[in-house]
């Protein structure tokens, strides 16, 4: 991170790992949207950054020209199969494919349909009581201390505990899960060994879990996947491992970041804090607005066939940062896009993506964010940043506060 050449120009040389982009991206994106709506950089072997909602949407919908075979912009491309045509049993595919997020049509739909029933609002609502208990217990640990780190002591634990519960994994393995995510999505962006190490460890871990469920089935999602059928065939172990890797990675860092960003906002906005306490019925609108304004996830695509979007030529094999966070700040679609209005009633934000890859865990994320804020505010209605300068943000595809010291009475 520290030895990266500084960015000379955001429109022609951007770097999403640049500290300025990491800590204060919105002004950079606003400027790009006005001056050069599709930025390009020679870094990472060539990467585009569309900043307008319309272009992000067009690319998300265009699976013919924009492939999901690579969904993270990394410094060193992994030893990757260049397409989904490679045989399923190839070792390279087994270390990378995480269906359905890395799948393109026609393979995407069947893999997604297998998972969808486990993530409907009804299925997720059955987890709410458990999530509420997890959040309440966490806040109770520090509520009388007068201070805590809202990211480290709270936000990061919530999705780990919930997803562990869903997958039937020990909550005590949470540190291990967070380490893998750090290696894959943070260190692994610029450094290939970390990436490979995390993949290998996850692979070993899930093979053991799968073997355990085969001998003693549970009521968890791993057992569900073992019994699932796709096009009348059981899922291969490689497919199951890829999907579990996806659920674990996508289910933790993202929601942890969203919860942290909500608390970061509330710590600095007394009126919003008080309003949510006195008008709890506003919570659903507020959660959507936080998701719009602080959307944590930036996906990526690889250009599969040269094409033009928004007047810009996209060259084959280069990457595209698909910034739903930037799309959500486009004033063409969202009036007063740079303001956080917790009662914004019309809000078709793209925080969970657009098109066939819409985040499968969106109902889970919404439930966790809502419950995490409600349980926090019920115990700590008034709180502030201990020191704004001590807040740090993650870099890479998922953005959220990683250190968030707050004080309260």
């Amino acid at each position: 991170m520290t030895d990266r050449p500084p960015v000379s120009d955001w429109a022609t040389d951007f770097d999403h790992l640049d500290p300025r982009w990491v800590t204060e991206p919105y002004r950079i994106w606003d400027e790009l949207r006005r001056q050069c709506p599709v930025a390009h950089s020679e870094r990472y072997n060539g990467v585009y950054f569309p900043s307008r909602y319309a272009d992000v949407r067009a690319i998300a919908y265009d699976t013919e020209h924009f492939s999901s075979r690579r969904v993270v912009v990394r410094e060193v491309p992994p030893r990757a199969p260049s397409g989904s045509e490679k045989p399923k049993s190839s070792p390279a595919a087994s270390t990378l494919a995480s269906p359905p997020i890395t799948s393109d049509p026609p393979h995407h739909r069947p893999a997604r349909m297998v998972l969808l029933p486990a993530f409907t609002p009804d299925a997720i609502s059955r987890l709410e009581t458990r999530a509420r208990k997890i959040c309440g217990d966490l806040v109770d640990r520090f509520a009388s201390d007068g201070n805590c780190d809202a990211a480290i002591d709270y936000a990061q634990h919530v999705p780990v505990a919930v997803i562990a519960h869903m997958l039937g994994l020990p909550e005590g393995d949470g540190d291990r899960f967070r380490r893998w995510i750090h290696l894959l999505l943070h260190e692994g962006i610029a450094e290939n060994a970390s990436f490979a190490q995390a993949l290998a460890e996850m692979d070993d871990y899930f093979r053991v879990q799968i073997a355990n469920r085969r001998s003693v089935p549970g009521e968890d999602l791993i057992t569900f996947l073992l019994g699932a059928r796709m096009e009348d065939q059981p899922l291969s172990d490689e497919h199951i491992i890829g999907t579990l890797r996806l659920l674990l990675i996508a289910g933790i860092d993202t929601t942890w970041s969203a919860i942290g960003s909500c608390l970061w906002h509330l710590a600095q906005n007394r009126d919003d804090r008080r309003r949510l306490v006195s008008e709890p019925e506003l919570m659903p609108l507020a959660v959507e607005e936080f998701l719009r304004a602080y959307a944590p996830v930036t996906m990526a695509r690889q250009v599969a066939k040269e094409t033009t979007v928004g007047g810009c030529l996209f060259k084959e094999r280069e990457m595209v940062l698909l910034s739903f966070p930037a799309a959500n700040r486009d004033p063409e679609i969202f009036p007063q896009a740079d303001r956080v209005l917790i009662d914004r009633a019309e809000n078709r934000h793209a925080a969970f993506g657009l098109g066939i890859h819409r985040c499968i865990g969106s109902n889970l994320a919404r439930m966790e964010i809502t419950v995490a804020l409600e349980e926090w505010l019920a115990r700590i209605p008034d709180f502030e940043l201990a020191d704004p300068a001590s807040v740090t943000w993650s870099h890479g595809p998922v953005r959220g506060p990683r250190k968030l010291p707050v004080v309260f009475r």
Binding site: P117, F119, T120, P284, E346, N347, F352, L354, R358, S362
Partner: protein, 71 residues
């Protein structure tokens, strides 16, 4: 602007990706299949008093999959 005629909500099944915003906003007007994809309740006719919710569901669909039209 006449709201006298019945309104009807229509979900385009090709566009719906199961964000479930409509179901959260107007559960009286939308229901979900086992995969979480939405369709209108019944023939989509909006009962009196729910016009506002129908419009909000339309305005909050990230995929522009919902249309509210005069029946």
């Amino acid at each position: 602007m006449s709201e006298q005629k019945d309104l009807q909500v229509i979900v385009d099944p090709e566009l719906c990706q199961g964000h479930n915003r409509c179901k959260a906003i107007a559960p009286e007007l939308f229901e979900l299949d086992e995969f979480g994809h939405a369709h209108a309740v019944g023939d989509g006719t909006v009962p009196p008093g729910l016009e506002g919710k129908a419009r909000l569901a339309e305005a909050n669909c990230p995929e522009f999959a919902i249309k509210v039209a005069q029946a």
